[in-house]
């Protein structure tokens, strides 16, 4: 047993898992607030990455300026999308809403390919030091930045939902729309805001992945990888999403370790999360932290 390799894989898993956790959080946020499953989450990441890349290249802005402008843009984008496309679908069966988000993802994928081309484009170098040493493993600086930002976002989400007025309004709407409305909460605003925040945070994750791998149309596949994390944690628990992301990140790497050292099947890195997903769904269908739908028959 190669302990150094295992340990390094663990560290790497946690770091990537933090990123999965961020995207999973956005997913859960939208679901919690507006009961919509957003299959276009990957495309949000893609749009954010391309927008940031374009700002950096076209206007030669410093990174943080471009980053903040991207976040603002994505917030507006999420808001507009919700108002224009998703509001008419309130009340429709789940499958229709899923289909709409799938249609949106197809639309945006093609749009991005049209606007920015199909080849992978590198981000201009952002940090002076491309990689730093974390616990003995050379890690890209941008990952370290993303871990810090992820923790920051998790803390601010936690504060937002527990103590701020809007956060409480969102939780109330998620619990029961009609009661929330009767208490004077503007459900429309809550929906729009949740989409805006989700788009914004996805863009952040997208920029990180883009800095690491270059921006390309395939970046949106990240969105599919997030599903096991979301289910593991429970579809309506933010904490669960974070935990789920971390677990999936570590799990992927551990599976790869087992695969390369012991089993030699070759594909466990990609497939293990989905096997685990099925297992979780059979044992604990509501994930680790999700709320149980209690039915009395």
């Amino acid at each position: 047993m190669d302990w150094t390799l295992l340990f390094q894989l663990l560290v790497s898993g946690l770091i990537v898992g933090a990123l999965y956790g961020v995207v999973a959080m956005c997913f859960v946020l939208v679901y919690k607030a507006s009961q919509v499953v957003n299959f276009a989450q990957g495309e949000f990441m893609l749009i954010g990455a391309w927008a940031c890349w374009w700002l950096l290249l076209k206007f030669q802005l410093p990174f943080f300026a471009a980053f903040l402008i991207t976040l603002a843009f994505m917030m507006a984008f999420g808001l507009i999308l919700q108002v224009v496309v998703l509001k008419p679908l309130i009340g429709e069966p789940v499958i229709s809403v899923i289909m709409v988000t799938i249609g949106l993802s197809i639309f945006f994928q093609a749009l991005m390919k049209w606007l920015f081309g199909v080849s992978a484009q590198p981000f201009p170098p952002i940090f002076a030091e491309p990689s730093i040493n974390v616990l003995g493993l050379q890690v890209k600086t941008v990952y370290a930045m993303s871990t810090l930002i992820s923790i920051g976002i998790m803390i601010s989400f936690a504060w937002f939902f527990k103590f701020s007025r809007m956060g409480l309004a969102m939780r109330a709407t998620a619990f029961n729309q009609q009661v929330a409305q009767s208490l004077g909460i503007s459900v429309r605003q809550v929906f729009a805001l949740s989409w805006g925040i989700s788009a914004m945070v996805s863009a952040l994750a997208g920029v990180v992945v883009g800095v690491v791998n270059g921006v390309s149309p395939a970046l949106s596949f990240f969105g599919i990888k997030v599903f096991p994390a979301v289910i593991l944690g429970g579809l309506d628990s933010i904490v669960g999403a974070v935990v789920g992301g971390l677990v999936i990140g570590v799990l992927e790497n551990l599976a790869h370790y087992a695969d390369s050292q012991l089993l030699r099947w070759g594909n466990l890195y990609e497939i293990a999360p989905f096997y685990v997903l099925i297992l979780i769904l059979m044992i604990r269908p509501y994930g680790l932290f999700g709320t149980r739908d209690i039915e009395r028959v």
Binding site: L9, A120, P124, P130, Q138, S216, A218, S260
Partner: protein, 427 residues
């Protein structure tokens, strides 16, 4: 119920579409088909290749066509979706005499059809299973109507392995060097795996278990850590450019000391620009004898053809573009032979491909490598040039500029001549 009323409506709609979608074939022209991927998952390499074919055809038509007849062609972007390729083929069969195809998906799907309908299919998929026209080898099926210009994936991999063995000796390495295949579990990267690993063993390598990484960009730190821990000296990257970029960057961060060997579609100027210094030192094969910046007699024709879609003459053309032009010109010369020997039909074009040995199309000397197709062996090219990528990190700029400044350089380091072994046919 009005199920069938709707079906009748569908029939009418289908008929209307038939008239919309078919191009009018002029009796004088020669009809060929062109399948390309400009917008699908392989579009980053499919774009330059498809552009090369289209430009070459336009150039041929501008200079009198084939034996005085223009090439009537239809370029269809099928986005790497097999059903679309099949329905396009159905539309074409009975009209076209040859097809310029693209990737593994459409080539494999159409093998049976083109063999039955006797339509030569020039693919950009260089799978070794397409090289056996008579059947009976390890390829398991006879493909008499499949042609491609370039070394097959397996042969290219064997060439890289051979270079790696020589490189190990030159570096004075002690003991058995270690070789590992890295790629997705997918027809394209798997195509040369078994052949390359067997040849590596033959040459004295210790072959390590393959490392898998997906065809999509992602985080491959885990694979790089495993690679580093395994101690391999030579790693073959079997995927396309998009994911190779990811793994090169990840391995650079982790600090892996390994000689990466690329494949024909896995490393090109675009990939070098996107990966930056992570792509430095990667050794990869090139199908043509020259790249865009070289001075060779054939480059004059290439630049002329490039002007068909870039009148200003400023575009930088990747190696895929040049290979595409070569493939099209080979088809053209086979058609010319057919025109002089019984008419331009699929069967005669095939015979035309066998008519010459070691030929390069007129005007492409120094670019297209001399190739030979025979009725028993469709391995046209057994010589490959190996280049080393030399890339520095630099601010973003168009590729032409980066090449001119020397930020991206491709240095030819070896020309490998492979043996035409009978037991290597078809796999």
């Amino acid at each position: 119920m009005d199920v069938k009323r709707m079906m009748a409506g569908a029939v009418l709609a289908g008929g209307a579409l038939l008239s919309l979608a078919t191009t009018v074939v002029v009796a004088q022209g020669i009809s060929i088909g062109h399948l390309a991927d400009f917008s699908g998952p392989t579009a980053d390499v499919g774009g330059p290749y498809g552009q090369g074919v289209a430009d070459a055809i336009a150039h041929i038509n501008k200079h009198g066509g084939v034996a005085g007849r223009k090439l009537e062609h239809e370029t269809v972007d099928y986005s790497y979706q097999v059903p679309r390729a099949i329905s396009t083929y159905k539309n074409w069969s009975g009209r076209v005499v040859a097809i310029q195809g693209w990737g593994t998906a459409d080539t494999e799907a159409l093998v049976g059809f083109v063999t039955k309908d006797k339509i030569p299919y020039f693919s950009a998929s260089y799978a070794a299973t397409l090289t056996d026209p008579a059947g009976g080898s390890k390829a398991d099926k006879a493909t008499p109507y499949n042609f491609f210009y370039g070394p097959s994936y397996s042969d290219a991999a064997r060439g890289l392995v051979q270079w790696a063995a020589d490189d190990w000796k030159k570096k004075g390495g002690q003991g058995k060097p270690k070789y590992v295949h890295m790629g997705a579990n997918h027809p394209y990267p798997n195509s040369p795996k078994a052949a390359a690993e067997e040849y590596a063993r033959e040459l004295g390598f210790e072959v390590l278990p393959p490392i898998q990484f997906a065809l999509t960009p992602g985080d491959y730190t885990a694979q790089c850590l495993t690679l580093r821990q395994s101690g391999a000296q030579y790693a073959y990257l079997g995927n396309t450019a998009g994911s190779n970029i990811s793994i090169l960057k990840a391995c650079q961060t982790v600090g892996v000391q390994v000689q990466f060997l690329g494949n024909v579609w896995g490393m090109d100027e675009n990939a070098m620009k996107a990966a930056g210094s992570a792509a430095n030192n990667v050794v990869y094969p090139v199908r043509t004898s020259a790249i865009w910046t070289d001075k060779a007699p054939g480059m004059a024709l290439m630049r002329e053809i490039s002007k068909m879609s870039d009148p200003g003459g400023t575009a930088y053309r990747a190696s895929h573009y040049l290979a595409a032009v070569c493939a099209t010109l080979y088809m053209k010369e086979a058609m010319e032979w057919a025109a002089a020997n019984g008419g331009v039909t699929g069967e005669n074009i095939r015979k035309g491909m066998y008519a010459r040995q070691n030929w390069t199309p007129k005007g492409t000397e120094g670019v297209c490598k001399p190739s030979t197709w025979t009725a028993q062996d469709h391995r046209s090219l057994l010589q490959l040039d190996l280049y080393r990528a030399e890339v520095k990190d630099a601010p973003d700029a168009p590729i032409a500029e980066l090449v001119a400044k020397g930020t991206i350089q491709m240095r030819r380091i070896a020309t490998i001549d492979l043996l035409r072994k009978k037991e290597w046919l078809g796999w």
